[in-house]
Symmetry: C2
Subunit: 208 residues, 2 copies
Amino acid sequence: MNKRGVLLVISGPSGVGKGTVISKLFDMDDNLYFSVSATTRQPRPGEVNGVHYTFKTKEEFEKDIETGEMLEYAQFSGNYYGTPRSAVEKKLSQGKDVVLDIEIQGARNVKRLMPEAVLVYILPPSIEELKRRLIGRNTETEEALEKRFKTAYTELHEAPEIYDYFIVNDMVENAAIKIEDILEGERCSKSAMQEVLKQILEEAENLA
Amino acid sequence: MNKRGVLLVISGPSGVGKGTVISKLFDMDDNLYFSVSATTRQPRPGEVNGVHYTFKTKEEFEKDIETGEMLEYAQFSGNYYGTPRSAVEKKLSQGKDVVLDIEIQGARNVKRLMPEAVLVYILPPSIEELKRRLIGRNTETEEALEKRFKTAYTELHEAPEIYDYFIVNDMVENAAIKIEDILEGERCSKSAMQEVLKQILEEAENLA
């Protein structure tokens, strides 16, 4: 029986350790696929189209935004970066689970365009700990840090409206295992099981 | 941090092996609590009020239906049987996960009264296999069997509207593991994590 993959969106405030958790998750699970982003910036030496990024012109990208082909996008230094829907769809229909590592506004957009997406937000064990981790990086001015804290607070307030699941990153391995549990559960969700359900209902129909 | 338990409703068509799967699930998970049903029937010798059943008068039971204290109920041989909300609530607030083994109309009611309930439906590997299992019991007339098949088909058609998760009972142990995965995932759901979220938002508030 053919199962549809799960679209998993992972977000968290700056400093929460999201990258490390996601990397651990990929170590644990062979069915995961990292979405290849589209961008309008120039390819750098060695970057392969469709592997590192899907390279698009500004016109192509803006058309994709209009048509809903771009599940979410953002602009940095004058270039667009975003998640193309068709590539995600293809993997999901092959039964692969697709992970998107995006921020809160992107997550909101993905949920609007693909309501079956599963949205996970990573929390710090405490706000004190989040502050310690941000300060520990020691790469920013006090002003820049203060701005990061503020953004994190705002995000934490908005997150409960948007996200389906919340996990505390107390230990990287625990946090990754929890996301894996969420994923295993969601592999049995109504939307992931729709093909299986269809088949069994058809069989019932034929025998009735 | 205090976490709220998950209310897990498990249903499935007659013959799917639900009882065996639930019993395996309880072997695997120490945090589960089986809801004690209320009934208006007379206690049998050795039955303890509040352990085997909570015994109620017809008047008490009907008042509980009216006030929404009875999450779901049914009548058999002139007696009421149902699930009292207050007992379920108490366990959930202690962080215990509560399992309800009920049929589809009951599940619908529970979802209406407690929308955060997690509804799992157990599917047979195929309709042929469900038929084989029902026939294998060899305890019923052909007519009674035919009626069971019909009920199962109707249920299978209604289930996708109501249930959140679908698992196939191909092997009892696999099925129980999948329910355990669903449960682990739901322990991170927004509703299970509401206290944790509240605490972290309060901390952010105080530091802002």
